[in-house]
């Protein structure tokens, strides 16, 4: 095929100007995502609760409860103790069903068993799993332990030195 030379400004790369940007179509380019944010431990839950009241695009903020370490092999999908911010118990299966984005917040390695239970479900549904390690106030060795424990389950792992990264990340992800 003969190369056709662009004839109008807007039909060639020169259209990358501020003036031409005015003609970009104004229609939305994405549907609202279903985001599920899991706080794996008490510290993570506290950090998460600081921002759950902000206006989000329907993100679900969920806390893993229970007193002790969770044994993933002995915990079925809906045995995971999980609650919404108002204290209502919720089922992991229902939360993961229809989720587009899953983010796990961790500030200790005591509850990593829960990560495995969540990851199993997410993996079944081929959903990307992001792990955010909240390093504020933790020793380097604790951070290393959390990172190593989460590594098998997360397709992206971020270590944030301050908790203000939680809203920054969730805003960026349109949660």
């Amino acid at each position: 095929m003969e190369t056709v030379r662009p004839t109008l400004l807007s039909s060639c790369a020169k259209a990358a100007t501020a003036a031409e940007a005015r003609f970009r179509v104004p229609y939305p380019n994405a549907l609202t995502r279903a985001s599920r944010i899991f706080a794996l431990d008490a510290g993570a839950a506290e950090a998460m609760f600081a921002i759950t009241e902000d206006p989000w695009n329907g993100a679900h903020f969920l806390t893993v409860g229970g007193a002790s370490q969770i044994d993933p092999d002995a915990t079925g999908v809906d045995d995971l103790p999980l609650s919404a911010p108002d204290g209502r118990a919720v089922l992991l299966s229902a939360e993961i069903k229809g989720a587009d984005v899953v983010v796990m917040l961790a500030s200790s390695d005591t509850r990593i068993g829960a990560a495995e239970v969540i990851a199993r479900e997410a993996y079944e549904r081929k959903i990307m799993l992001a792990g955010l390690v909240l390093a504020d106030g933790l020793s380097k060795s604790s951070v290393d332990r959390i990172v190593a424990a989460l590594r098998p389950y997360a397709s992206v792992l971020v270590v944030a030195s301050e908790n203000d990264f939680i809203p920054a990340m969730l805003t960026a992800l349109r949660a």
């Binding site: 662009p6 060639c12 790369a13 020169k14 990358a16 100007t17 501020a18 031409e20 940007a21 970009r24 380019n29 994405a30 984005v101 983010v103 990307m128 799993l129 992001a130 290393d144 990172v147 190593a148 590594r151 997360a154 397709s155 992206v156 792992l157 971020v158 270590v159 944030a160 030195s161 203000d164 990264f165 920054a168 990340m169 805003t171 960026a172 992800l173 349109r174």
Partner: protein, 428 residues
């Protein structure tokens, strides 16, 4: 997604803006040293951070960078006569020294001391490596001179180029920390580019197109680790350091020279993409240096006599659909640098980040923006100096290594990620 006010904060660098103040707290590349090759050579117009300046080298070899326009009636000093220790305006003969101080007003009696009252805004200009650097901020908070390894190794080990990029600095810089595009956009070039091909690591890059990312903060910025499968359950790690505000290094491949970039705002809709290549322990070979001059690797070809890329928006970047179809290049655009630049310029001069749909693998970019915003606000509101100004932050390297699965890259590769004089880069 980024809110409009944050996008404005990060992308605007004129005098008086928060991000502008942040850029003004660093030594930034201003010109290639080769642009002012000898004493009394022609002056060069320079626009940086939205300020129009003139650079020159006086009769004694002193470099000057100052307001482009004569204080008398506003003539561009590019027309000036660079002679006898200063730059003289050709209109009425006012003369300035390398600091911008007016040293002669021929119409006024010398004894009047009138010229002492006239001073153009001037900035220091120093040569470190192949680059002339300037600091456009307050003298009181001037940082130590730059210590980046590419600029401090012997001249035969390093090569630097710059090209005009027709978009805001941030979207260009974000390309440098966007490790997930390499498996797509640059996939063709891994096989063919003389400065990339043949490395063992390339094979992992091509075999595993779904890298897993780990982002962690460093004192000066970030480490972005991309992990791909290697043999026997091991991981092939590629670590990209980002140092504030806009320095990045590409993880190395084989024994090829290491490369990286600086992105420096010209104004809000244009930036300089600085690209360097160096080897920490050996001279560049004649072939390597020639390949860099010829525009391979992170460098590019030019419109003759300019710093504008030969492939540019006026010629649709010489799009080659046949090469795209054959897979020689993934996007149809020749050369790694212009593969990036063509796409980044296509976003428009300042991309509207309220429209983007980021995903988890974009977390390096999300974190970099977050740190930039915080640093710019801390400087604006509390006068806190931002990271990246001191040698400890600047003496970093990128690295690539195969590690057992349980190893933390930040620990296992701690030494690999630091400059070690006389020790070569860690690479696969």
């Amino acid at each position: 997604m980024l809110r409009k006010e944050v996008n404005d904060l990060l992308t605007q660098t004129d005098n008086g803006t928060a991000m502008g103040a942040m850029f003004r707290s660093y030594w930034i590349p201003a010109l290639l040293a080769s642009e002012l090759p000898e004493d009394d050579c022609p002056p060069v117009r320079v626009k940086l951070l939205g300020e129009r300046l003139i650079a020159f080298r006086d009769s004694k070899g002193r470099y000057g960078l100052m307001d482009e326009f004569c204080a008398h009636r506003g003539v561009s000093l590019w027309f000036g006569r660079n002679e006898e220790g200063g730059l003289r305006c050709p209109y009425h003969g006012w003369k300035y020294d390398h600091t911008g101080q007016c040293v002669e007003v021929p119409s006024e009696p010398e004894e009047s001391g009138f010229c002492g009252k006239i001073k153009l805004k001037g900035y220091p200009l120093i040569k470190v490596g192949d680059v002339l650097w300037t600091h456009m901020g307050d003298k009181e908070t001037r940082p130590p001179e730059p210590t980046w390894e590419f600029a401090t190794v012997p001249a035969e080990q390093t090569f630097t180029s710059k090209r005009w990029q027709e978009c805001n600095w941030l979207q260009a810089m974000e390309g440098g920390i966007d490790s997930s595009h390499v498996s797509f956009l640059h996939s063709g070039s891994l096989n063919s580019d003389p400065l990339f091909k043949g490395a063992k690591g390339n094979k992992y890059n091509q075999a595993d197109k779904k890298p897993v990312f780990e982002v962690s903060e460093s004192d000066g910025g970030l480490y972005i680790g991309a992990r791909r499968m290697a043999e026997e359950g091991h991981y092939y790690w590629r670590i990209t350091p980002w140092i504030m505000p806009s320095f990045t290094m590409v993880p190395p491949r084989g024994d090829h020279p290491m490369h990286g970039h600086f992105w420096v705002p010209i104004d809000d809709e244009n930036c300089w993409a600085w690209s360097f290549d160096y080897h920490p322990t050996r001279a560049l070979t004649t072939e390597e240096r020639q390949a860099m001059v010829d525009g391979y690797g992170v460098h590019n070809k030019y419109v003759p006599g300019s710093f504008r890329p030969l492939q540019n928006k006026d010629n649709d970047y010489l799009m080659d659909r046949d090469a795209q179809r054959r897979g020689d290049t993934y996007s149809g655009i020749w050369g790694i640098a212009m593969q990036d630049a063509s796409l980044q310029e296509s976003m428009g001069p300042i991309v509207d980040r309220t429209k983007e749909n980021l995903v988890s693998t974009d977390n390096g970019i999300i974190m970099a923006r977050h740190r930039l915003r915080k640093a710019a606000v801390a400087l604006r509101d509390k006068g806190e100096m931002p990271p990246g100004r001191v040698p400890e932050h600047q003496l970093v390297r990128s690295a690539a290594r195969v590690l057992p699965p349980e190893e933390n890259f930040a620990d296992a590769m701690k030494d690999d990620l630091r400059v070690r004089t006389g020790v070569k880069q860690t690479s696969v």
